[in-house]
Symmetry: C2
Subunit: 866 residues, 2 copies
């Protein structure tokens, strides 16, 4: 059995044996790239060593042979005081893992070989600096000496010398420090620092092996259900230095422009420098094209190879290189990170160049990033005064004067101001203010709080749950840290990052470009999932159609109830003392609802429109604080006491788990009856103008009998209004239900008997399945994701193991009753790429998301299909 | 094919064809009982008629033959003006169903035959009364004339005559009314009343057939998923009358005493009377033994037959009989209803008599009724002044002076008073008051509200959710209707019925008797399920052991936190500004917890004790109203503002779905750590005295990583305290989790990897699965059960289709990972018989219930096993 592979022997398929890093270095070498040579000790050797506490037979012979080969290739010798070979030692498991041993660089240095390095570089300061770094790293990661002792010694040396920066340390200073460091190691380990490079190397390799079983690594594997018997490989690679004189250098380059996507070799370099110097920013690098003048041959070689690399990897590459004494080395090539715009541009152009297929192009774009392209962003050049960071609840940037109430927002808008609405949390009563504000900022609530959901629907920037805010709504002040902002003060929000800035910052409007449309059209060609939108108004519906929506998957009727001209009648309906009063109030609401639906049907000509019957509990329509009682009572013409009593009677301990959804529709049938009548009347009125396809949706069904009962009422109203189920009355209609309770999932076979369609409400389903409310989970959910108790926040992406299991079950049971049952999703997850892919996998018919997420969903659906 | 069966031809096995009633009448006839003869038209005939709108061929010949046979048997002739045969016509489907046609009695009467009846009875008033009743019933149920018109006519006649009671109507009056009624029928139907008895009979039979497809019956079958093609049978039976003179009579008898269970023929009769007269209570019936004197031969026959009936049916019978002119007729025999006590006594005695087996005896007792035997009840003879009715939340009767706060309750008790605690709703802060009160009364909350759950645990009467109460806690008044009660006024509660009475009523203490123990020991012989109890204190644990509990399935540690000497430190812990302060407060709580556990371990020597780590959210431990803030703040030595802020910070929109259970234990690990340490320390301290078997239970696990994390902490504390998993430290311990979230059910295979046991928390599981909170469901759940949207209240009995499905899944998945996994249930359902049977079916290891429900669970478990 072979225990060690040189970089010339492996390739990228050998990850299990060589680890990720080893396989990658081998691949580059086999491409003929000038990679600093080295070898990889296999994961199997690690396992053997850990099991038997000794090396497998034949290991040492192999090791010596590989070290010889390395010396030969590099024309340097390990431990040679004139021409020393220095190496790096790195762990490399199949997948990278926290807790594993860090890198040791410059291994092979000792008091002798450092002289050789000085000779070769002509730079004693660099050489002793490299030496002391090696001793620190070796002491820390191999010999387990706490890094604090080394740092304290360095601090002491600087203090003694009266300097503050490491850059002011001179060769002699570093040299002295090496002695001090060795002394520390002696004190801490009771042994001298190993001067013999081979001894250093043996110890470093063993330290890597042992790190596989350290506490943190074991805990990580446990938490991620990874096996403990994979082992880690060890990479030993020759060091090269870019700071060995004028014919040395270092740089980073991209095969195309990562920011614009332009097809042009792009990058920068520094002569006589190390990679660290580029990062440290002490010297300003030169553009890569300059290299053509400085080292024309090297430039040509680099240019030729970068083109070859892009072709080999069939993607834009990010390349690190070092030039040591006129010789070019590649240290790394990897797929280059890029902006959303350049990702699209590069993908489309590569298809046009014949390099990749359309399908590959689609897979290359991160759907999450499309968002950025659809919303204004803060000018990257602007000076930023970041005050605090909240949750990036709805993307885009907006600046405006802050206001603390929805009414004030409307008032300011009338005076021509741009405003940001600042609230502890928003409620449906704030809709009119949210409608006119540029952006929304709240102190509480999560990614699926009211503010977040509504803002995303409106395509407005929103930062939610920013705990640093102390809002005093009465005093109209907003405190962030020690700064206080009042009514009318200017702030800027970046809803894509969650950052809040003082003052008004310049923003950049999104700019659409032809490649975007190209990608979208390719996506539409391959996807199977239909994409609908969540829209409550003709305007939202229109925006969504422009983004490619193929129907409305969720039209929430409660938002209609909050409009200023309606809320009074809604409240009258709630406070009605008898059926007549209630009927009267509802009779006033009906013509308004008819107009709502007519407007939406008109925009969605020939596309399905899913209308959800009233969902929230009635108390949401009544004032919730004492101050608000009096004006509302006056408007309604009732005593404040009476209103208070009504509010009190409707109070719920757990509103999420209360009297809402179809429960309300069943105990107060007249409300749903009015809504259904309005739907049919609107359809009748529009049927000659457009093709109406309406899907009436019953919310919060838990038991089949709930749906049965509401459906019987709908059929009754249909009979009364002449709406024929066979479409003969000139429009199509269906009746279905939200699936948003665990009970609905496990009894979906029964429920399907009475449903023409299902639509998953994964917001509620997630909350019920986990047993937490999104409004309250802020106290533990961030802790859970930070501490890897949950890999992801399930309110952001569908929890496939738990919630997803119930969804699978519901689809299977539902279609066991009705094979062709239409099933979709209209929860917030409908626009989140991983969730969209899951919805494709479990064979949903459509996903529905907020208008601005429609392009994201189109792309994600295409990727799912591929 | 045969379309009609005489009562001599059928038997009880022919329910499908003859309906329940027909099969039963046939069975009695075939036993040789003198049953008024008759025949049954089959369900198949009904189906044929409904399908073809005509009778099957041969039907009329059969019909005539059966009518001839009936006339022959009864020695009366249909339509004979001298000796008329009268019959009743009744529907009789396989199962009884609302909406089906009612009975028509006295069919065969007309102006001619009524004369024959007068002649036979010598009673014109009775005869015309029978006639007008027949016309009304026929008009109403056969001809579909609204009964109001008949009632109005009767009222008019009485008004005209100047009388109020029907009993003051004379023969002539009834005779006149028959004319009026026939006129009404003519007006309403446009046809004359059918005088021909055969025409009457044909119409009545067809009306029964048609009633199978009336709206109400169809709706009922739809709602109950019953097939529509069963059809109904029609029973035609000769009328007999007990009021035909001195040698006639009527009575009701039981083969044993239904109230005491005594083995003695028991009942009452009236001479020259109809069954209605016994019910109406106008005349006082005589004891059955008197019949021996009045009609000795009849008595002997009756006595002989009742003994035969009991033997045949092998159970105590409830018999209705009529004597018509010296001839005894049996109208009905059925299993007699009986008190809980007599049920047990009869069952045990019948086993001793060799009549039934032990297993049959066990199946004869309704476990629900055992409850009554274990609690005091209101003296049945007492005069009752019922004020209102709430939910029967915890059984038993109690009287006392009302108080409005827990503190006041304690204060009054010190003065030697008995008190009832009256609260809008109780919270854990009221525990000390609940502890000393005789009973608890609340205005809000359901069968599983805090008050209900705690009261049942304590075995104290409780009426919850009584909406009629208007409680003013400040003024200390309780308004019910127009009556107001103040501090110290006497009330009586009947927790078994939910009734609230004014004043102090005499109560009867439960009296245990030897047959109870016999039944319990038989139950223990056959049941497979283990029965544990929910108990938080040594006292409760002791009570439960006396009732036969085999362990503690749920020991809630939060109740311990509320005791007066602890709450201060709990609050200090919550308000701690840093880890040190928190540790200090917890350090003070630990020794107290150690004592708690020691006490429980001692009582539960050698039995398992499941200790649940802290479950409720922290805000439950802080004052919830402004008035309560100041004293608590003073006690804690903090500003009121600081306390308010803490309360505010911990406020939750949906506390059920908030920061509780293991979420709290994970974000505040020091709390669980203290509890676990206390458990191990208590076990160590007791291990030489008793055999400790403790099961540490993690609440509210939703994701396996939560359990993993808490378990790691427990293992750590175990290592620190020397608690060895192999029991070598002298006691046994396990770690497991509640299964109370839908997500835990669907991922139970993962969770089982880290759990030694599961325990279903079906209270929460039901709430999460349905998506409603028990505290808020009062606004729609009663409507749901009343309107048959839900067959049962799922907070009372497990919803087997929905919640039960998830439980099945969890058991299956859990045991797929760990074949022998111990699984129990500790929700409120654990003491509810149907739920216990379900738990047996899905192969749980144990059920756990409140101490007083333990006997109920033992019997239900035995029945499940049989």
């Amino acid at each position: 059995m072979k225990h060690i592979y040189s970089f010339a022997e492996g390739d990228k398929s050998m990850k299990d044996l060589l680890g990720g890093k080893g396989a990658n270095l081998s691949e580059m070498t086999s491409l003929g790239l000038p990679v600093p040579f080295g070898f990889t000790i296999t994961t199997e050797t690690c396992n053997y060593y850990l099991e038997h506490s000794e090396y497998p037979s034949g290991y040492f012979d192999e090791f010596d042979a590989h070290l010889d080969e390395l010396e030969h290739k590099m024309k340097k010798n390990f431990g040679d005081s004139r021409n020393p070979l220095l190496v790096s030692v790195r762990s490399g498991a199949r997948v990278s893992m926290p807790g594993m041993m860090d890198t040791v660089l410059n291994l092979g240095l000792n008091d002798d070989t450092v002289q050789g390095l000085i000779e070769k570089t002509g730079n004693p300061r660099f050489s002793y600096d490299a030496y002391r770094r090696f001793v620190t790293m070796f002491g820390n990661v191999v010999l387990d000496v706490g890094h604090e002792r080394f740092e304290h010694a360095l601090e002491a040396a600087k203090t003694k010398k009266g300097i503050e920066d490491d850059t002011d340390m001179e060769a002699e200073d570093w040299k002295n420090l090496v002695l001090v460091f060795k002394q520390i190691i002696q004190e801490e380990t009771g042994k001298d620092f190993p001067e013999d490079p081979r001894e250093q190397l043996r110890l470093a390799v063993e330290a890597v092996f042992k790190s596989w079983n350290n506490k943190r690594a074991i805990a990580y594997r446990n938490m991620n259900n990874m096996p403990h018997n994979m082992g880690t490989a060890v990479n030993v690679q020759a060091m090269v230095f870019g700071n060995m004189g004028g014919n040395s250098g270092t740089g980073v380059a991209f095969t195309r422009n990562p920011s614009t996507g332009e097809r042009a070799f792009y990058g920068e370099f520094l002569c006589n420098a190390q990679g660290e110097d580029v990062v440290a920013g002490i010297r300003t690098p030169q553009e890569i094209s300059e290299l053509r003048n400085v080292m024309p041959a090297i430039y040509d070689q680099l240019y030729e190879i970068q083109a070859r690399l892009e072709k080999h990897y069939r993607d834009m590459q990010d390349i690190e290189f070092t030039i040591e004494k006129g010789k070019l080395y590649f240290l790394q090539t990897r797929t280059g990170k890029r902006t959303a715009k350049s990702a699209i541009k590069i993908a489309v152009e590569m298809v046009n160049e014949g390099m990749i297929s359309k399908n590959e192009a689609l897979m290359r774009i991160d759907p999450n990033k499309l968002n950025i392209l659809l919303h204004p962003s803060i000018d990257p050049g602007a000076k930023k005064d970041c005050l605090a960071k909240g949750l990036p609840a709805s993307p885009g940037a907006a600046a405006g004067k802050i206001v603390f109430t929805a009414d004030e927002a409307c008032h300011m808008i009338e005076e021509g101001e741009k405003v940001l609405l600042v609230r502890k949390e928003t409620s449906p009563e704030d809709i009119h203010g949210m409608n006119v504000a540029e952006g929304i900022l709240t102190a509480t609530g999560g990614m699926t709080s009211h503010a977040a959901v509504v803002a995303r629907g409106m395509g407005k920037p929103c930062i939610a749950g920013c705990k640093a805010l102390i809002i005093d709504e009465e005093a109209k002040t907003l405190k962030i840290g020690d700064r206080t902002f009042g009514d009318g003060d200017l702030l800027t929000l970046d809803g894509s990052t969650g950052e809040i800035f003082a003052g008004e910052m310049p923003t950049v409007e999104p700019e659409l470009f032809p490649e975007f449309d190209t990608i979208m059209s390719w996506a539409d060609e391959v996807r199977r999932l239909q994409i609908r939108t969540n829209a409550d108004t003709p305007h939202d519906a229109e925006v969504a159609r422009r983004f490619g929506a193929e129907g409305i998957g969720l039209c929430r009727t409660e938002h209609m109830f909050f409009e200023e001209d309606r809320i009074l009648n809604v409240r009258k309906m709630i406070l009605a003392r008898n059926a007549d009063q209630r009927a009267e109030a509802l009779e006033k609401l009906r013509p308004m609802q008819v107009e709502d639906f007519k407007g939406i049907f008109k925009v969605m000509d020939n596309l399905p429109v899913t209308v959800r019957l009233l969902d929230p509990p009635l108390h949401e329509f009544l004032p919730d604080t004492d101050e608000k009682m009096a004006p509302v009572a006056a408007e309604l013409g009732v005593d404040v006491a009476e209103l208070k009593e009504a509010v009190h009677a409707l109070h719920e301990f757990n509103p999420m788990l209360g009297h809402r959804g179809c429960r309300l529709g069943i105990t107060h049938p007249e409300i749903y009856e009015m809504q259904v009548r309005a739907i049919f009347e609107a359809a009748m009125a529009m049927k000659n103008e457009v093709k109406v396809k309406v899907e009436i949706e019953v919310p919060l069904t838990g038991h089949v009998n709930e749906l049965k009962r509401v459906r019987a009422m709908i059929d009754q109203v249909a009979a009364e209004t002449g709406a024929m189920k066979d479409g003969s009355s000139g429009f199509e209609w269906k009746v279905g239900t939200m699936i948003e309770l665990p009970r609905a999932c496990v009894t979906a076979d029964e429920i399907a008997k009475h449903a023409d369609f299902f639509s998953f409400g994964t917001n509620d389903l997630t909350q019920m399945t986990f047993g937490f409310s999104r409004d309250d989970a802020g106290s533990f959910l961030p802790y859970y994701t930070e501490n890897e108790i949950l890999a992801d926040n399930p309110t952001e992406t569908i929890d496939q193991e738990g919630v997803g299991q119930l969804m699978r079950m519901a689809v299977k049971l539902g279609r066991s009753t009705k094979p062709g049952l239409e099933v979709g999703i209209c929860g917030e997850h409908g626009g989140e790429p991983r969730s969209v892919m899951f919805c494709h996998d479990i064979e949903l018919d459509y996903v529905s998301c907020s208008p601005y997420r429609v392009p994201v969903a189109r792309l994600a659906a295409a990727q799912a299909a591929l």
